[in-house]
């Protein structure tokens, strides 16, 4: 039995003389350590959740040599917590995807009782080899950080959290559990209680953040918001975070700010860990004005003096909005929180809402197919017309739900029954749309913004915050400088998309897996992202409404190719991708482009033998390849000539890959692919300039 007095002494030893418990902290430790309860802790960021489980770790170690197993979703969080644990004398280690070389040693030390807290990512619990290792450990407490992730209604549902739910729902009585989150409204709490069992003890604290000053500014399009940032950011004190919805937006905003002499960097999940750590440190030391980030920088990033959080685009829900603004102003008296929003936000969100869950027909087809007899992924890809990413998503969900399992290279059906959950998914999607509308309501709100935000999290303030734009008046401008808007529009028209060459066949082809190097494309470019605020909107209009591409696009393409890109050695001829459906659309453009650059255009060099289905409708690599390879023919010998290969849209890159392969068979030299637009998921923002 641990008494509060003793805990108080240890707390002071860890954090310094005179430090005392914040409200609820001791209650949480007491429930876990003395009563072995399952506890759900809902407290605002910065409240001090970590110290609760560090104290639990200390006492569990002392009483029963037991280990705390902490499941945490993000690496930045782990790094912070390990540093903090070490500072106060708790031995914390982590096994995650970044340190495989150390796993053996750490698990061995853990088994020998030399570790107090082991931090793991949810994915580790999904790994069978690991599960077995964890079983042999003397675990005294399971901590699930950011526990709202287990809720379907939470903003951040992850399939791997399903396995955590399965473990938690099998926890015997008297096995302590601590779930923590800063952001959960009543609905999420109820959902967690339902999944964790009814004897859960929920401890909730107040959510209002005293130091935050909120303002919401509605601006028309991306150019206006870029302009607004360039003008206002230098005047906002301190350093902070600008949140964007997509990786490519992060890259573009960061590049724009740099062009405007503002020290900013982009930060997103696809970066390697060294780079991420380096960026986190720069921000920590205020050596960068802003990190332009996706949600990847968020949960658990613990910088006490973040001066501002700006949303370049509207976040998906109040829950995630609150989570992100919670990064700001922890130890400073005042921090600015500004929500920008505009046109493309709806497009992006609805795209994510619609692609969050697999299509019912696809997941049903997979269950049916694997139920017939075991199949490999290639076999599945060949018989189901869906994108590889979609198939992977389905397979992952089915595997975690125990509907299928891997047997060697084949997927097999388990004995567990299955029925489609599309009704549930529909309900969740509907809920998400409503939660998004709750955030958008901030733009037209007349009353106190903070009061509204915390009320949506089911914490009702009795008084207005007195600080937000509606309580105390605007503290930042609501309009953008027209000259800067023009400059931003021009900037957006010069952000190009790089097309990386494909290196592998989708499956064994003419007995090869790798595409031999002398049959590959070079790096190529796309002028825009289809439908974007730069050239993408014009491409879309011209393709489907006008029926021909404007000379503006020819000129812009020429500039990209000759000035920005200028591939070496430069191409000698222009060849276009033929189409039976719109025979002149691309060929006319390619001819005009060839004239503009001063190259000869080889009309009808590549011919189409039969109608192929539109690439966008052919969803996975395997099917696209079969479709495309048989469709084209190269009529003449290229005699070593270097080729600029032109198409209107690039999506899977298979058309370019296949035609390049066929051209090279006819002795073509280097092949440089060029497209007017890339699809949303296609290329990379070219940030090497």
């Amino acid at each position: 039995m641990v008494e509060k007095q003793e805990a108080q002494q240890i707390l002071e030893k860890m954090l310094g003389k005179g430090v005392s418990f914040r409200p609820d902290q001791w209650e949480a430790v007491d429930a876990v350590v003395n009563e072995h309860r399952k506890v759900l802790l809902v407290q605002k960021t910065g409240w001090g959740k970590s110290i609760v489980y560090f104290l639990c770790a200390y006492f569990l170690r002392k009483e029963s040599k037991a280990l705390v197993l902490l499941v945490s979703p993000l690496l930045s969080l782990m790094r912070n917590q390990i540093d903090m644990a070490r500072r106060i004398g708790i031995i914390a280690e982590t096994v995650n995807s970044t340190n495989p070389a150390e796993w053996e040693e750490i698990l061995e030390r853990t088994k020998n009782n030399e570790v107090d807290i082991l931090l793991i990512s949810p994915e580790r619990l999904g790994n069978k080899g690991f599960l077995e290792r964890f079983v042999s450990l003397n675990i005294g407490l399971l901590v699930v950080d950011e526990v709202h992730c287990i809720s379907d209604w939470g903003h951040d549902f992850r399939p791997d959290y399903r396995r955590i739910v399965r473990i938690v729902s099998n926890l015997p009585k008297g096995a302590p559990l601590l779930g923590t989150t800063a952001t959960a409204n009543n609905r999420v709490v109820r959902d967690i209680e339902e999944q964790f069992g009814k004897d859960l003890l929920t401890i909730r604290g107040p959510l209002k953040r005293e130091s935050l000053k909120l303002q919401a500014v509605k601006l028309a399009d991306q150019s206006e918001r870029l302009a607004w940032l360039a003008e206002n950011l230098p005047n906002i004190p301190g350093s902070g975070i600008i949140y964007c919805l997509t990786k490519i937006d992060c890259e573009r905003v960061a590049r724009w700010l740099k062009d405007n002499s503002i020290n900013a960097s982009s930060y997103h999940a696809q970066m390697n860990n060294e780079r991420k750590e380096e960026l986190e440190k720069l921000l920590m030391k205020n050596e960068v004005k802003a990190l332009v980030s996706t949600v990847a920088l968020g949960m658990g990033y613990d910088k006490p003096d973040i001066g501002f959080v700006i949303h370049f685009q509207t976040p998906s829900s109040i829950v995630s909005y609150y989570q992100q603004i919670g990064r700001a102003g922890r130890s400073v008296d005042s921090a600015e929180v500004i929500l920008l929003g505009g046109k493309e936000d709806d497009d992006i969100h609805y795209y994510f809402f619609e692609s969050a869950f697999p299509e019912r027909s696809i997941i049903e087809a997979l269950v049916e197919l694997i139920g017939q007899f075991p199949r490999s992924k290639v076999e599945i890809m060949r018989s189901v017309n869906a994108k590889l990413s979609e198939i992977d998503k389905c397979l992952k969900i089915l595997e975690i739900d125990g509907v299928i399992t891997k047997n060697g290279s084949k997927y097999i059906r388990t004995v567990n029954k299955w029925s489609p959950e599309s009704e549930r998914w529909k309900r969740i999607t509907h809920q998400r749309i409503q939660e998004y509308n709750d955030v958008k309501a901030l733009f037209d709100m007349k009353g106190c913004l903070m009061k509204y935000v915390v009320s949506k999290l089911d914490d009702n303030l009795s008084e207005d915050c007195g600080k937000c734009c509606n309580c105390a008046g605007d503290f930042r401008s609501r309009v953008a400088n027209p000259q800067l808007v023009q400059k931003a529009a021009k900037f957006l028209k010069n952000r190009f998309v790089r097309i990386e060459p494909r290196k592998r066949f989708p499956h064994r082809f003419e007995n090869m897996i790798q595409i031999p190097e002398h049959f590959r494309c070079e790096v190529g470019y796309s002028l825009s992202i289809y439908g974007d605020a730069g050239w993408g909107r014009m491409v879309k209009e011209d393709k489907y409404e006008r029926g021909s591409f404007r000379s503006d696009l020819v000129a812009a393409s020429k500039n990209l190719i000759t000035d920005y890109w200028s591939p070496k050695p430069f191409p000698e001829i222009v060849v276009s991708v033929p189409s039976l459906r719109r025979p002149y659309l691309v060929s006319r453009f390619a001819g005009a482009l060839a004239r503009e650059i001063g190259l000869s255009y080889m009309a009808d060099c590549v011919v189409k033998k039969k109608e192929t289905q539109e690439q966008k409708a052919m969803k996975n690599s395997s099917m696209q390849f079969e479709n495309v390879i048989s469709a084209f023919d190269v009529s003449l010998d290229l005699g070593g000539k270097r080729v600029l290969l032109v198409d209107d849209l690039v999506d899977s890159r298979w058309t370019f890959t296949v035609i390049a392969y066929l051209l090279k068979k006819k002795n073509a030299g280097e092949i440089y692919p060029f497209a007017l637009s890339a699809s949303w998921e296609g290329g990379y923002d070219d940030d090497e300039s």
């Binding site: 072995h36 029963s64 037991a66 197993l69 619990l125 069978k128 599960l131 077995e132 290792r133 964890f134 079983v135 042999s136 450990l137 003397n138 675990i139 005294g140 407490l141 399971l142 396995r163 399965r166 473990i167 938690v168 729902s169 099998n170 926890l171 015997p172 009585k173 008297g174 096995a175 139920g371 007899f373 075991p374 975690i400 739900d401 125990g402 399992t405 047997n407 097999i412 059906r413 388990t414 004995v415 567990n416 029954k417």
Partner: protein, 339 residues
């Protein structure tokens, strides 16, 4: 108190006390064997603890005091019970594969095992599928792994007859006679239960098996954790569960004085788990002939072919042939359920 009892906690407690997890192969910690578990169970039942579930909330000192056992035993029990999080991970893992566990303390535990085996009934059963098919009328059909094709066909026919009579086929799910009898039932819309020794996990991965489990017509069960390795002892041990779960046993073919079928059949006769029928194959088949000599009830396949309801056929034969009363169930309600 009439509130519904927390049987799942009883199960958790019994699992922690009696199971060694796969990852603990080299641990010094020793789970309780059947005899020690039964001793502990008696103490639990006769003390204030009263149910295994209560142990989950007791400290080592409380266990020592309330069960009136020595400190060393109390420590062993407390150490076994401290593996709660490991148990949750293991259970989640099994659940994903479609494997569940049930303890002797639960009402859904197969009644027939408790009634016939009493304290020798396994404290835990691991299973896949729907156990309620064992509450049905049941006939076990067993035999050697490599008999003639004609005998395999006869096993299949027996299974088919069970399907037609609404009777569950129970078998050891081994190659040969066992599988043919089970498939005879399953392929004709009937029910089957297989008692396996070590292979639950690999068994349910087989395509032709897993579809029947999903349908709810096939249950597979084992008295041993699915991760434990095969031993001859386990294979033999399962015979008593096969016969105990059945109203009648049918031996299609047995070797003489060797092999699992022989061992199981003689044990069944000796312990009287259920009336045992033996296919009469003449003097040439010495195993079957000897079993008939030892009180096995002979029958011929023609009799089965003629009669549409195999259960009625066998019941009728008992009345004609058996000198002894068929096994009558005792009133188990007087025993503590999990005792």
């Amino acid at each position: 108190m009439t509130t519904s009892h927390d049987y799942i906690s009883d199960r958790h407690s019994i699992m922690l006390l009696t199971i060694r997890f796969d990852a603990e192969r080299n641990n010094v910690l020793k789970p309780l064997n059947l005899k020690n578990f039964n001793n502990l169970a008696r103490r639990i039942a006769s003390s204030a603890v009263s149910r295994p579930s209560k142990l989950l909330e007791l400290s080592e000192a409380e266990i020592c005091e309330q069960l009136e056992i020595d400190e060393k035993s109390a420590k062993q029990i407390a150490d076994l019970l401290s593996r709660k999080h490991s148990l949750a991970i293991e259970l989640a893992n099994l659940e994903e594969k479609g494997i569940r566990a049930i303890s002797r303390a639960e009402p859904e535990y197969p009644r027939k095992l408790l009634e016939k085996l009493k304290h020798l009934a396994p404290p835990l059963i691991f299973y896949a599928g729907d156990l309620s098919i064992l509450d049905n009328k049941a006939i076990s059909i067993v035999g050697s792994r490599k008999p003639s094709q004609s005998l395999l066909d006869q096993a299949h026919l027996l299974g088919e007859k069970c399907a037609g009579s609404g009777v569950t086929v129970v078998s050891g799910a081994a190659k040969g006679v066992d599988m043919h009898a089970m498939m005879g039932s399953l392929q004709n819309g009937g029910l089957a239960a297989g008692v396996v020794a070590d292979s639950l996990r690999s068994f349910i991965r087989k395509d032709e098996i897993s579809r029947f489990v999903r349908d709810g017509r096939l249950a597979l069960l084992s008295a041993f954790p699915p991760w434990e390795k095969f031993t001859v002892w386990k294979a033999m041990d399962r015979n008593k569960y096969i016969y105990s779960l059945s109203d009648f046993g049918v031996v299609v073919r047995s070797d003489l004085e060797k092999g699992g079928t022989w061992a199981g059949a003689t044990e069944c006769i000796e312990k009287n788990y259920c009336p045992l029928f033996v296919l009469d194959l003449g003097k040439e088949e010495r195993g079957n002939a000897k079993l008939i000599e030892m009180r096995g009830i002979p029958f011929e396949i023609n009799e089965v072919s003629r009669e549409p309801n195999i259960y009625r056929l066998l019941s009728g034969m008992i009345e004609r042939n058996s000198e002894e009363e068929p096994f009558g169930g005792q009133d188990v309600k007087q025993l503590p359920l999990w005792f």
